[in-house]
């Protein structure tokens, strides 16, 4: 297997989408696509699995809620129960209505922050990380499709040209 990749640059999102379908139909492997903005339907066209981040957010939210219940119960009921303004502190259930705001805030806090941290970890984005887009124009107005070269290089190149690419570069894969 060759270690070469072809970078096909497009300057229109609709042309790119059509090209993705054609390249897939010709059974070439799309390594990666870099786009300046979210192109709707691109993940489906490329055959990417749906993301599970929404599910993790739900689980993180439950964690936050669970933590809040434990924490409020420990502080207000177990460790040092106090009579404050006559609000009952004999059991968690009795005192619970006063805890709803904090329980809610902690649920949101956990869900939001842990989901975003998960996103950063999974996509490998964090401070001091080097960008990987091969061409700086892909954050401006160009869409770059990276196709693995397997077999005839010229054939793939001409296929890509036929899909409306505005520029085609063959690169050694690093």
């Amino acid at each position: 297997m060759s270690s070469k990749v072809i970078h096909a640059l497009y300057d229109d999102d609709d042309v790119l989408l059509k090209a993705v379908k054609e390249v897939k139909a010709a059974h070439h492997h799309i390594e990666e696509i870099y786009t300046p903005f979210p192109v709707h339907g691109l993940d489906k066209a490329m055959g990417l699995e749906p993301t599970r981040l929404g599910i993790t957010a739900f689980m993180y939210g439950l964690t936050g809620l669970g933590f809040a219940v434990w924490f409020l119960n420990f502080i207000m009921i177990q460790d040092w129960p106090q009579n404050i303004g006559g609000k009952p502190s004999f059991s968690f259930a009795e005192n619970m209505p006063a805890f709803v705001p904090v329980m809610f805030e902690m649920t949101v806090f956990f869900a939001a922050h842990l989901m975003v941290i998960t996103f950063y970890m999974r996509s490998k984005i964090w401070p001091f990380r080097e960008a990987e887009n091969p061409d700086p124009r892909t954050t401006d107005d160009h869409f770059l499709m990276e196709v693995a070269v397997e077999g005839d290089e010229d054939k793939i190149a001409s296929l890509l040209k036929g899909t409306g690419a505005v520029e085609i570069n063959v690169k050694e894969k690093h």
């Binding site: 300057d11 229109d12 999102d13 609709d14 042309v15 059509k18 696509i33 870099y34 786009t35 300046p36 903005f37 979210p38 691109l42 990417l48 749906p50 993301t51 981040l53 929404g54 502080i75 207000m76 040092w80 106090q82 404050i84 006063a98 705001p101 904090v102 805030e105 902690m106 949101v108 806090f109 869900a111 939001a112 922050h113 989901m115 975003v116 950063y120 999974r122 996509s123 984005i125 964090w126 401070p127 001091f128 990380r129 080097e130 960008a131 990987e132 887009n133 061409d135 700086p136 892909t138 954050t139 401006d140 107005d141 040209k161 036929g162 409306g164 690419a165 505005v166 520029e167 085609i168």
Partner: protein, 580 residues
């Protein structure tokens, strides 16, 4: 094509923009130099901020006694300012979260700045409870951590503590939401940056964002879920702020209508502040094509609705106060007693600024007029400050013990801290306007084809510009084959001859007298092409602008890279614009 939008919807990106134009327009305020007006505004804000710092230092050094508080009125400007700033901090999340859930495209031109405003406003708000503690070094007592008092915990039955949790969750989640949305836009600035320092900074803050398909998929999911989380969050924050008052037994505060009424008031004041800021910003930063009349009108409609809710709440408070027949209810902030009493001016400021003047927005002429909108938004900002002042000071000024009835007069320290927060807010916002991409350009690009005026015109007029994708592809392929790449096999002598030929028409570049331009600004010229052009001897826009069909062909045969590109992208036309 999937970009159809009903023709009745007005275009919200005007000026016939392309993707590249959006990049250039958003990057312009960052890459350009600050003008004189910016410096004047910045210095005034900085002075105000420093005055505030002095006033805060004096308060902390001497004690809360330096404020105008007295026995009866033990909360005044501090909490007024706190609630006012928190309220302003509501529009950002409302725009970016609630309008995202409702798929309102017009949010995209304004959400970035509205969120920035939110964060900066919440920072100001957060200052007041901290200062109000008096002994700020004991501030950690509000945190649920064991401290030197033994394991005496904070009181989770208290709305004041709920507020600590609500505000800090709101601030941190808004910040993360904002920053995540900023990553692709910082990446865009990073990839355009030419100065090494700039490049370093924007690489750092963009977290190495590369725009991979999977990342975008996750990005969109995260935005959606964060919007879903932030929507109840933003409603909870001002609800909890209102609990600070509503759970007390002071007449005028003890009111079950407070939570919804506070939330509506917060949105009302937040949108007014967005109008105030953006109407200036769209002029100063040349964003008229992205923040249009449609945006202004839509925001004015939100102001009209939330202003209406607030007015209904005022009327119900007035009615209920009167209907109880209780003499104590006759001096609450919305009562005949307040309207005719010593605080009549504060009462009427509230009514006129919040309930009367915004009604002008029923006239389409007024709500689509920039100047009128700006003036009315200032009135609303003032009116909403008075609302909080009235709730706090008027209600406290009279109580069950007539001998203690009194008035509040602020000291120079009260005023100084308020002015200081205004200064701090504008310092932050002005710095933001010069260093951050103030329009969510990635998102705006994603709606360009459905709502850009050039695309809309093409669709509606059945203009031939609007083509099917197949036709677009065909056109692109044709353009490539003008000179097939295989035919360009020229020997080196030939190339050298062509190069000198080319430079004859374009003019040579003299590095001693001329300055090289950043040719990458031209759409279609990347770093590689720039290097090639430089090798040939082309360094300036002036040279590029002289190119015609003949020169393009020559260039193609010299470089041998993708033919026909330069002509299609009209490098000369672009360079001509950039030259000036």
């Amino acid at each position: 094509m999937g970009h159809y939008e009903a023709p009745i919807r007005e275009a919200i990106i005007t000026g016939d923009k392309s993707y590249h134009d959006i990049t250039v327009d958003v990057a312009a305020p960052i890459e350009g130099k600050a003008n004189k007006k910016w410096w004047i505004a910045f210095i005034i804000s900085l002075v105000a901020f420093l005055w505030g710092v002095g006033a805060i230092a004096y308060t902390i050094g001497t004690g809360i006694g330096v404020w105008g508080l007295n026995n009866r009125i033990n909360w005044a400007w501090d909490i007024t300012n706190f609630v006012w700033w928190v309220g302003i901090g509501h529009a950002g999340t409302l725009i970016s979260a609630v309008l995202l859930l409702f798929r309102q495209k017009w949010r995209m031109g304004i959400n970035r700045s509205a969120e920035a405003m939110t964060i900066f406003a919440v920072v100001q708000a957060g200052l007041f409870p901290l200062i109000h503690m008096g002994r700020i070094w004991d501030g950690f007592y509000v945190l649920p951590i064991p401290n030197q008092l033994g394991s005496l915990w904070v009181n989770f039955n208290s709305p004041l503590l709920w507020d600590v949790f609500a505000i800090s969750t709101y601030l941190s989640v808004s910040l993360v939401f904002w920053w995540t949305g900023l990553l692709p836009d910082f990446a865009m600035i990073r990839d355009r940056a030419t100065k090494p320092f700039q490049k370093k900074i924007y690489s750092l803050v963009s977290f190495g964002w590369s725009g991979k398909a999977k990342d975008w998929q996750r990005f969109e999911e995260v935005s959606l879920v964060l919007a879903g989380l932030a929507t109840p969050l933003v409603l909870s924050v001002h609800t909890i702020v209102s609990f600070d008052f509503a759970t007390s037994v002071i007449p005028g505060w003890h009111s079950t209508v407070y939570p919804p009424y506070f939330v509506a008031g917060a949105v009302f004041s937040g949108f007014a502040m967005v109008q105030t800021l953006l109407l200036i910003m769209r002029k100063v930063s040349n964003l008229e094509y992205y923040i249009t009349r449609v945006h202004i009108e839509n925001m004015n409609k939100v102001i009209l609705v939330t202003g209406g809710i607030v007015t209904v709440a005022y009327l119900s408070e007035l009615f209920v106060g009167w209907y109880t027949g209780s003499s104590y209810e006759d001096f609450v902030y919305l009562s005949v007693g307040a309207a005719t009493g010593p605080y009549w001016w504060a009462f009427w400021s509230l009514i006129i600024c919040n309930s009367v003047i915004p009604q002008l927005f029923w006239f389409k002429k007024i709500r689509t007029n920039y100047i009128w909108t700006f003036i009315i938004s200032i009135f609303i900002n003032i009116g909403m400050w008075f609302e909080r002042f009235d709730i706090i000071v008027i209600n406290l000024s009279r109580g069950h013990l007539p001998s203690s009835w009194t008035m509040f007069s602020p000291t120079f320290v009260d005023i100084g801290i308020f002015i200081g927060t205004l200064g701090f807010f504008f310092v932050l916002f002005l710095l933001y306007a010069r260093t951050f991409p103030v329009i969510a350009q990635a998102e705006v690009k994603s709606i360009l084809k459905s709502t850009g005026d050039n695309y809309k015109r093409a669709r509606e007029g059945g203009d031939p510009v609007e083509k099917t994708i197949a036709e677009v592809v065909e056109q692109k392929v044709e353009a490539q084959t003008v000179t097939p790449a295989e035919e360009i096999i020229a020997d080196t002598d030939d190339k050298a001859a062509q190069t000198s030929n080319l430079l004859d028409t374009l003019g040579a570049f003299d590095p001693n007298t001329q300055q090289a331009d950043d040719l990458k600004k031209v759409k279609g010229i990347g770093p590689v092409m720039e290097k090639t052009l430089n090798q040939i001897g082309i360094y300036t826009f002036a040279q590029v602008s002289k190119m015609t069909k003949k020169e393009y062909d020559l260039l193609d045969s010299i470089t041998g890279s993708f033919p026909g590109r330069a002509e299609r992208d009209d490098w000369a036309g672009q360079a001509n614009k950039l030259k000036s």
